[in-house]
Symmetry: D2
Subunit: 284 residues, 4 copies
Amino acid sequence: MSYHLTSSSYGKSKVRLTKVVRKTPVHELFEFDVAVELSGDFQPAYTQGNNQNVIATDTIKNTVYVLAKENDFDSAEEFAMILVNHFIKTYQQVTFAQVTITQPSWQRITIDGKPHDHAFTNAGTQLRYVKATQKCSDASCALFGGVRDMLVLKTTASEWADFHTDRYRTLKDTHDRILSTRIDADWLYGWHQINFDVTRDKIINAILQTFATHHSLGVQQTLLVMGEAVLEACHAIDWISFEMPNMHRIPFNLEPFGLKFENDIFVATDEPHGVIKGTVSRTK
Amino acid sequence: MSYHLTSSSYGKSKVRLTKVVRKTPVHELFEFDVAVELSGDFQPAYTQGNNQNVIATDTIKNTVYVLAKENDFDSAEEFAMILVNHFIKTYQQVTFAQVTITQPSWQRITIDGKPHDHAFTNAGTQLRYVKATQKCSDASCALFGGVRDMLVLKTTASEWADFHTDRYRTLKDTHDRILSTRIDADWLYGWHQINFDVTRDKIINAILQTFATHHSLGVQQTLLVMGEAVLEACHAIDWISFEMPNMHRIPFNLEPFGLKFENDIFVATDEPHGVIKGTVSRTK
Amino acid sequence: MSYHLTSSSYGKSKVRLTKVVRKTPVHELFEFDVAVELSGDFQPAYTQGNNQNVIATDTIKNTVYVLAKENDFDSAEEFAMILVNHFIKTYQQVTFAQVTITQPSWQRITIDGKPHDHAFTNAGTQLRYVKATQKCSDASCALFGGVRDMLVLKTTASEWADFHTDRYRTLKDTHDRILSTRIDADWLYGWHQINFDVTRDKIINAILQTFATHHSLGVQQTLLVMGEAVLEACHAIDWISFEMPNMHRIPFNLEPFGLKFENDIFVATDEPHGVIKGTVSRTK
Amino acid sequence: MSYHLTSSSYGKSKVRLTKVVRKTPVHELFEFDVAVELSGDFQPAYTQGNNQNVIATDTIKNTVYVLAKENDFDSAEEFAMILVNHFIKTYQQVTFAQVTITQPSWQRITIDGKPHDHAFTNAGTQLRYVKATQKCSDASCALFGGVRDMLVLKTTASEWADFHTDRYRTLKDTHDRILSTRIDADWLYGWHQINFDVTRDKIINAILQTFATHHSLGVQQTLLVMGEAVLEACHAIDWISFEMPNMHRIPFNLEPFGLKFENDIFVATDEPHGVIKGTVSRTK
């Protein structure tokens, strides 16, 4: 009996790129945190310390910066496709490549109502998330979009009632609770020849509008309704997945102080938290 | 020879309060992370384990929620003053009290151009920061405002040149660099009878406008100019302090790849980073 | 065309349990951070807001504490099996359950060379990681062990040379470098009737011994050799997976200062970092 | 009325140095996270953008690595003194300098009971903390030692009772609770010609021994007793300060499940937490 390598991959993470496009006085700013992961014919590195096929992770890092220089792109989605395609096309030893990018939310500072040419501030905690994957046998990549850490909260129009009861239940029904979550969402782009910024704004907008206006009977229901709204608003998307922690606001017990809880005073807490996941797909 | 207690204090931190004001269908949301710190006649707890003077930190926590229930307020500043005053006035054993509050950046979700009544999303990484301190001999508290983690970046109109040269210097002069920082600022309110939201917006706006439009010869110079702009815009402020890490974007060396750096491709990095501090005061 | 839910799950995360066993003056301490995730017949909650099948995440949280009270166990592995089995056996609407536990490294404080009965301190940054999964059709669970954030560093006996060369490579060969990583490892227990603490110590020990004594030609090679050593030392394990970031120590360029780099002065950095992954399995 | 700079300083943070001393096959490893802060005659940089006196933070960073190369030292304390002295002695424009160092807990991997020559693993979450400060008028620096994030927990021999009662109190007396804290301590070295590793071990040991064996009537009492033990054990120390969050373990309410709480099942939580601070000094 002996041992063998049943799967393997390697790559470079936290490659932090800033690219400034200065074609006009209105500068374009791209700040990407890039991770590249490769699989392929690298077994000799594991079994014999023979590294001749291995593209060093430092080389991978260089490649991210060089391709950012040599290519024009308008979005993280486009740059992810450029990168993943490069690794598949350039190296015959690479059989699978994955590129992920996260991007913070810079927006132009507003001066007298107008966006500034070259000064930016942060527009939110949420991050743009993009993933591209490609096999050596594929003509093109699979392209995923996403968002991370999009915080939302509503102070009413949210219930949690009539759920399963047994020995372990102590929570009472409520017909008016605070609902708050930190949305992570991922989706698959069905087409790649689109304006990704416009498409993305439609998706984010559909999520926020639905969260605000839908009367929620539970995070599960809200998730499905948000997914349907996104697919309705955006035909370039085949499916959307959500992972939504339920960031509880727990009623503070005012009784010992001779006061009445009127849905007004809550303890905000991160631990423990519920997690609700689901994928909504287009029925073909 | 023996030992004695030369200073002491205690309190409760990370008291996370959510308050919803439902007087009209347009709900007001306050989310505060509160810390209370007390000093006073508590030596017997240290020396003998005699706790009779000690207001338990659990009691302090309860007090935050109860006072949030019993009082109307429009800002973290007002709630901090209510809290610190309570601890000084209620407990004769307390000779000094400090209350700090941080508040995340919730804003209303926009639907058809209108802010929603009860649904919110996050408007930025920056936190509102407030501190109130009071001695038992004081009639009122000292009140400090502030901001934490306000991210800004400009792609040009920033230089760093003609600085000290010696054996340890390797950095070259640059007359066009990216300038980015994560601003922490603190200020002292000279008057307490003001609209804190309006005042605060003036301060934040003065910082952002100056950052965007001032041609920077160094973070130090930018700091002073921003401080002057704040004091000019806002007469209720006596002084403002800044702590500004210099979040470097380092030119990527493209030469080995036969490419030319054109102020376009940078490595973003957090470590190491410069830190520039300074306080700008009104000359009386 | 319409939309449907193609996958879903939900649960509770960050359920933080402390259990003290006081059978003798030598107290046993268990501190677990538990996450439970369930799949099954919950579609009506998504499609209609009908929650009658849904075990509230608050109920799940209660269950963790109640089962900790009602059951004896000696390890996180045993408690994970108790929990996952409970959810599968108790609820016919649950078709798949997963329980993950992370556990910090408490060790007894040593007094005069002897471990103390009831006082503990921290023994390292590493966390014990356990996962149990079970389908409703399974008689028993699949049980996985693991470690997170085990930091190791060697100052020599590590090379990185003779790797792929092309336009994007700038890194030179080195035959003596610092190797440091933060090991995450996961393994599958082939048998469940074992002493998990003893087994686990064997695994951790095999990893550390191999890391220290093996002359490394690359992280990939080290990974495979460590996996083989674990499987050799521990017959209860079917396979082991590693994810190992390469936490680079980069030679500091001393030349501008008229000094010579003698493998002595390095810049420690987290960003970017290599990531090497691999699974080593027993050949049957 | 105009404005002026009332205080200022600047420096470099997160300078991460790894130094390996290879004088014998038993390698010495130093990993320091260094921050340098300078004050002095730098006003023209703020007021005019005149940087000629400013030692760039990049230069400060270089200096850390160069002085690590050029000097022998056995501890973070010694290196902090070398650095702070350098900045004061080298630059007449510097009137005050401060150097802080944090150092992770590497220990040698044990093979067959013996510490390995060049392989290390992590020994705990705690960090060594050192600070040196010096004015231009001082012949030598003030030197502070410290520890950060030293986790301790005891399952019994800890009470919290007979504390202040009023309207805001709901917590009941307890005569047997879990006590856990994450100790930050700082001390002033009275002498600089000592073996810092040995001294430090004495201090840490006195803290741990006292925490384990002292019957606690409150964190305040434990703090003072620990401080006295340190000053008793270690004559090179003038005073010691503690900041100790009370990391609560809250009894889980088992009543709804027909079970009895027997000081066995607790909810571990970080938020909110008490904070107890105090400084214990030698009476002269």
